[in-house]
């Protein structure tokens, strides 16, 4: 879907006018391009100690040029300017995992602040810190929780498509755990274009890094429901791009576009009403018999039947609950009952910011989507013993056929109500899901990753 406003204010006289009038200035976001380097410039790593060194060597392994001293960078970028403008930072990685007291934040945070003006368009700021817990000393908990407010505020100050996100380490997880590196790489890359102001929590040292960063899902078999169009078709295409064999599922009535998606990505089409009692078994049977296994299930199928609660009828309420959450519960039950869906299994459900912040007219939808968040938390615990994970992804305003039907003025406002001042693309949701589906995310489970450009509502 085109966003004419973003195109208009991204260059030429449109940019100048928007700047002078103080209008929102969204820019086209940096998205995944296999030919492009991981970052548009060097990464400034602020921090010290063993964990910092671990991340520095990982960054250098990914071909990133690492700078350690914010002052020195500011100096060198001025001297390196030979007519082509100063060299700009692709990212700032802010190591805050050692903070013991809120006072400890000042040094590294203010150093990062000095470097913010050197950020390139669509650069990244990533904090790495420990998750606050009730076991922490009060001062430690305060310092760790402080990172939350700091990062979310910093993300709102960034401009020109730059984003700020954080990696949270649970107690006992070291900075070189596969999912810490996996999360860091995802957040630095173009794959996280529309993820802003969010934290990824690494709970365990589980998971492993891919042999080929461009094909992290090689050899995996994935099922995507609601894959005939919109976000679902984008998820299917992205999983296939990353190497997975994909089974695309949608209701029989959507079969024509479903077949097109299957043929485009060399997958197989399974026409299926997911609310039928045998849906889970049929999915499992298809994946096992045709593709010899099942590793990844993406619950994307969903419907809306909006009405104010005062006007809500049973049919609207029931159909939304049946498709958006009851079907997922039933399918997961069948999957968990099978010993063929186990080692390293991934369940990823599409939730919604409506399920986090609530939305007028969507009591049924928000109940189902909040239900998804509760479900993955509980399912994560059940999958943990077999090395599997369950997570949710909550999209904000995404440019789809569905949102294109929103009246113009409402849509324009909805688009701009986030730090990136634009709607996301289906691809952005798909990238987050593909990351959570990968082996590199094996230590991340039970959480919700918002893909909303840091929408003003909710967390």
């Amino acid at each position: 879907m085109t966003d004419t406003y973003t195109a208009l204010v991204s260059r030429g006289w449109g940019r100048d006018v928007a700047k002078r009038l103080g209008l929102p200035q969204p820019v086209p976001l940096r998205r995944h391009d296999p030919a492009a380097p991981l970052l548009p410039g060097p990464a400034l790593v602020i921090g010290e100690g063993a964990s910092t060194e671990q991340l520095v060597s990982a960054l250098e392994g990914w071909g990133v040029e690492v700078r350690r001293d914010a002052e020195a960078f500011a100096q060198s970028s001025r001297t390196e300017a030979n007519g082509s403008g100063p060299r700009r930072l692709g990212a700032i990685v802010l190591m805050l995992d050692g903070v013991q007291h809120p006072r400890d934040l000042a040094g590294p945070v203010l150093a990062a602040g000095k470097a913010l003006r050197s950020l390139a368009p669509c650069a990244r700021v990533v904090t790495v810190s420990r998750r606050a817990s009730v076991q922490d000393e009060p001062a430690v908990a305060a310092a760790r929780q402080g990172v939350d407010g700091l990062l979310r505020s910093l993300a709102k100050e960034l401009r020109a498509g730059a984003t700020g996100n954080g990696v949270l380490l649970a107690e006992g997880v070291s900075a070189d755990a596969p999912s810490v590196l996996g999360a860091l790489r995802f957040l630095l890359s173009g794959r996280s274009a529309f993820v802003d102001g969010q934290f990824l929590t690494v709970g365990t040292a589980g998971g492993s890094l891919p042999a080929d960063a461009e094909r992290p899902l090689e050899g995996k078999v994935a099922v995507v429901t609601g894959a005939a169009r919109g976000i679902g078709s984008s998820i299917a295409r992205t999983l296939a791009r990353d190497g997975a064999r994909v089974v695309v599922v949608d209701v029989p009535a959507a079969g024509e576009s479903l077949a097109r998606v299957a043929n485009d990505i060399h997958g197989t089409a399974l026409q299926l009403d997911i609310t039928k009692p045998d849906a889970g078994e049929r999915i499992l049977t298809h994946a096992l018999s045709r593709h010899g296994g099942l590793d990844i299930v993406v619950h994307n199928a969903g419907i809306t039947r909006d009405k104010l609660l005062a006007n809500m009828d049973a049919a609207r309420w029931d159909s939304v609950i049946a498709v958006n959450i009851a079907a997922q519960l039933q399918i997961n039950e069948a999957l968990l009952a099978s010993d063929r869906f186990g080692e390293g299994a991934r369940i990823i459900s599409v939730a919604s910011t409506s399920g986090i912040a609530g939305n007028r007219g969507q009591t049924n939808y928000a109940a189902s989507k909040a239900g998804v968040i509760g479900m993955v938390r509980s399912t994560a615990a059940r999958l943990a013993s077999r090395g599997g994970t369950a997570n949710a992804v909550a999209p904000g305003f995404i440019e789809t056929e569905m949102t294109a039907k929103i009246p113009f003025a409402t849509r324009e406002i909805a688009r701009r109500l986030n730090s990136l001042q634009q709607g996301g693309q289906p691809q952005d949701v798909a990238e987050a899901i593909a990351f959570l589906a990968s082996d590199a995310a094996g230590g991340i489970s039970g959480g919700v990753l918002r893909v909303c450009g840091q929408n003003m509502v909710g967390q």
């Binding site: 479903l258 299957a262 197989t268 089409a269 009403d273 045709r290």
Partner: protein
Amino acid sequence: MSTLRKAVVVGGNRIPFARANGAYAMTSNLDMLTAALDGLVARFGLQDERLGEVAGGAVLKHSRDFNLTREAVLGSALSPETPAYDLQQACATGLEAILGLSDKIKLGRIDSAIAGGVDSASDAPIVVSEGLRHAVLELNRAKTLQQKLKAVSKLRPKDVTPVAPGTNEPRTGLSMGEHQALTTAQWNISREAQDELALASHRNLAEAYDRGFFDDLVTPYRGVTRDGNMRADTSLEKLASLRTVFGRQLGDRATMTAGNSTPLTDGASAVLLSSEDWAESHDLPILADIVDGEAAAVDFVHGKDGLLMAPVFAVARLLGRLGLTFEDIDYFEIHEAFAGTVLCHLAAWEDEEFCRERLGLDGALGKVDRAKLNVNGSSLAAGHPFAATGGRIVATLAKQLHERGTVDGRPARGLVSVCAAGGLGVAAVLEAR
């Protein structure tokens, strides 16, 4: 036969059938056949696969579609290195394609194949008159101005009128419906019996859709999700209220209506066939074996048999060759060109004299248990895009057989018969896997 390997049905796909001049009015045979192939490719993950052969055809065919099936393959997601050919045997086109390709698989000449069929009664070819055609051809041959003038002078105003397509029998001038009306009357088939058969067809088809039976047999097309001709809510009263459309010269004995005859229909189907090894090495299911088939023809021109009675002979000869009786058949798929056609076939097989004298049997071939007849609906409900019907029936039957599995310790068995213009009929036997 023991030296031959087996040919199996892996699965099928069709687009929902639509009544002529309806949802697919602006859609060509090539478009529909390509869509049927693409749906099959998507279901079984055959993208860029080089298959042994694709064969198919259409009954109503434009001259530009001389290589229809090959063009559909080129337009599909299959490997462009998949060979293809057209064939045509009127309404038996689809079934004959399946039998021919199965034989090639059994012989080991190919390992995999798709049998297809398509027809559009909406986008039918319209041709110029014979007079105009002869004049234009003669003009083309003419060398001198005098010869050219002579060719043109033969044209008459009436020659300019285009000729609409017809399916009337060339040798009798009668439409298929008029032919069947005579046969229906000859076998004393009642209006009520025909309406009951039509009702069962609609109910069975609707019930099969409702239980999701067609989820992996049909891929929606152009917004159509179920067969447009299906009337799930029809009743004997509604069917009885329709006026007769064929055999009206018979007066009170006219019984055939739009309700118990198939309408002109647009649609396409495709069936994936292969050897057992090919299916297994591609991790694909095996639904049924194509056991054997038989074609027959009758002399309807001289009135010896009704136009659509050839399946009566094909079935008798096929069962005789296989040493089977009706007791050995668990599903009968008898194409419902008209309800009267099916009922005449059943009557003939129950008629001792006919079976003795015409089929050379000791007595009646037997009675078909109605509970085993067209259990998932047939052409009266689904419609009948001529060349696509064989593929619809075989895919539906193969899935039904596979679901049933075994009967009394032997594989469930199904019999298919399809009648066709020109006094043709083709029958086949399938067994569950």
